[in-house]
């Protein structure tokens, strides 16, 4: 009798041990992919929203980020945090009669703004449109840019329209994206949670998501970076055109404008009465994309022939 009980106890404890091993094994197997995880820093985890950071905080964060980029990408970079100039209101105009669909702006933007090369992220989409329609559903996003301009087509570059009334900032559940006083809608890449609601909200398809960690060859990295603009983005966050604010806030033109071979692009300060952009808005018959959406873009298109 006593041995029987003993055996019973042994059997039970054996079963229990077996179950324990099985459970531990199952948990281990479930978590196995975490072995490939690169852990972030605690400072990064607890970092506060951009608008709550002091100058010193930002300086500390910038130093940390520069170090991380150096470590991950092998490039020595400088991150600045240029602030909007008071009284300035940026706007863009694009002459569709001139644009020849070469997509130079697309490549220049990718280089300037350190977009991921793999997977390829581009802020500017150039649409090949049949003459005689504004119907975007007839556009071709994948035309061959070796053979441009094509007879019977015109070319429509689209990037973030920097709306006066942006649907994207409205929907963001954590205020990770907002409109700056100079009219540029920016994203705090260290605050975005990656829900992609802004992408669903944008009527211009201007936002891109980092589905994986951006890959950029070391020699292709643009080392002059802005905190709210072209620094290399983390995985899992949204990004988009920011009117090259690290350049334009320092008086330069956006990269897409500088490279444009036909001079179709004009950038400037709406509040400056002498600016070219003011001249165009006053004298050309400009229009905006999807005016009916009520977004009030700061991006104007016109034909001048």
């Amino acid at each position: 009798m006593a041995t029987e009980t003993n055996n019973e106890v042994k059997r039970r404890s054996f079963l229990k041990a077996g179950a324990g091993v099985a459970i531990a094994g199952a948990i281990g197997a479930t978590l196995a992919p975490l072995r490939n995880m690169k852990s972030g820093t605690l400072d990064g985890f607890f970092q506060q929203h951009y608008t709550r950071l002091s100058k010193d905080d930002i300086q500390g964060i910038i130093t940390r980020l520069e170090g991380e980029i150096g470590r991950d990408y092998g490039a020595k970079v400088t991150i600045k945090d240029p602030k909007p100039k008071s009284g300035v209101r940026f706007a863009y105009a694009l002459n569709l009669s001139r644009c020849n669909g070469s997509r130079r702006c697309v490549t220049a933007c990718v280089q300037e703004n350190n977009q991921s090369r793999d997977p390829a992220i581009q802020y500017i989409k150039v649409l090949e449109m049949p003459s005689g329609t504004f119907d975007l559903e007839q556009s071709d996003h994948y035309y061959d840019d070796e053979q441009v301009p094509k007879e019977g087509k015109y070319y429509l570059p689209v990037q973030c329209q920097q709306c006066e009334n942006p649907p994207c900032t409205k929907v963001c559940p954590v205020e990770a994206t907002w409109k700056e006083p100079d009219g540029v809608t920016v994203i705090d890449y260290n605050w975005c949670i990656g829900c992609r609601y802004c992408m669903a909200a944008c009527p211009y398809e201007a936002r891109r998501f980092n589905f994986s960690k951006p890959e950029i060859p070391k020699e292709d990295i643009n080392p002059d970076m802005g905190y709210l603009s072209n620094r290399i983005r983390p995985v899992g966050v949204v990004e988009k055109c920011h009117f090259c604010l690290h350049r334009t806030r320092e008086g330069k033109n956006p990269a897409c404008l500088e490279v444009c071979p036909t001079g179709a692009r004009v950038f400037g300060d709406l509040n400056d009465p002498e600016s070219e952009i003011r001249y165009i808005i006053k004298n050309k018959r400009t229009y905006v994309l999807k005016e009916e959406a009520g977004t009030v873009p700061a991006f104007f298109y016109y034909f001048d022939v």
């Binding site: 479930t30 490939n36 409205k170 954590v174 949670i193 829900c195 009527p203 891109r208 998501f209 966050v237």
Partner: protein, 421 residues
Amino acid sequence: MVKDYVLFLGRACKLSFTGGGPFYAWMIFLTILCGIGGNAYMTQFVSGLTTTGMTDQVSWGAYIANFTFLVGVAAAAVMLVIPAYVYRNKEMHDVVLFGELLAIAAIVMCLIFVTVDLGRPDRFWHMIPVIGKFNFPVSMLAWDVIVLNGYLLLNLHICGYLLFCKYMDRKPTWLFYIPLVFLAIVWAVSIHTVTAFLYVGLVGRPFWNAAIIAPRFLCSAFVAGPAILILAFQIIRRVSTYEIPDKALHLLRNIVTTALLINLFLFACEVFKEYYSGALHSASMTYLLQGLEHHGHTYNALVPWIWTALVLEVVAMIILITPLGKKLGYLDAACLFCIVGVWIEKGMGLIIPGFIPTPLGNIVEYLPTTNELLICMGAWAFGILIYSWMLRLAIPIMSGQFSHEKGIALSMSSASEGEMK
């Protein structure tokens, strides 16, 4: 009181792991599915959402589709609560708790689905007011966070309180639950309305930017939710001794029937508006129902799915409006058709066409990856697991086999209780 509660928790823990072979098999099976899903999620967590089929063009997919469907399931608990508490229907009163428990499981699944959809789940705390930055009341997603979590808390309280009172064999105090039950009725409508507004509020997506979406959401929810409950009740009847009156099933059947008729009507209204006016914005609906021709390619990945859904819903309608529906076997089939039909129609059938064509007229189709589907499976398995577990505790309490006085007084015959599909 506190001592009693601690004792209750201890016993509940013990009861959770007590059961017959089928119960263990079922729970281990679900746990394994959860583990597989968890493993898939870890892969996604390490590599990013590149492991999914989503793209910049179709930026929401199977996760958000399942989320939308499940919010409806959670909201549908009111279809038991209203008859039970407003009309004081006796049969419903006996089963209303199972509906509220289903709402809890559904909300938990919803929260899992939105979490796995995040690119940066490590930053979830950014949504917590004060320490994070919560864009309330401007963002509809902020509203959704509030209503979903609020609904979860309400139902946890109502179910927990009533079950504990029953366990203690005490009459529940009116003030501690009745006002909350009525609040939960309004709240249930709000969770699905707010979820609909997530989509409706987007000016750049004409397929969603329609006032009919919220009513359609509620109708389809009142089809799928009660249908799931009918099937759940049928299973509870088979695996436990708990009595669920036929009358309760037939009342639910009436609800499913009415809601299904309205749902099909509203769908027809939308189809008419899109097709008859033939306006530019009908492309998404055309993509869904017929597929689109674009630069020489045909895009029609959703066409077989939506027609399957419509056929299932129409067959279910025929069963339900004829005397066939009164036979429980046919009723079960009709419920299954309703669940699958609505899952397709308001899951992928509602989310994906919103992105096709894109606002700039591009067409990129979406196909979930295996990893993505495994995560979905894991989330569902987890929801079913916790529903089974809650029933494992609730059924013996409701039938008086698990109480303060008696402890766990289960007969051997009911050892496999709590098994659930």
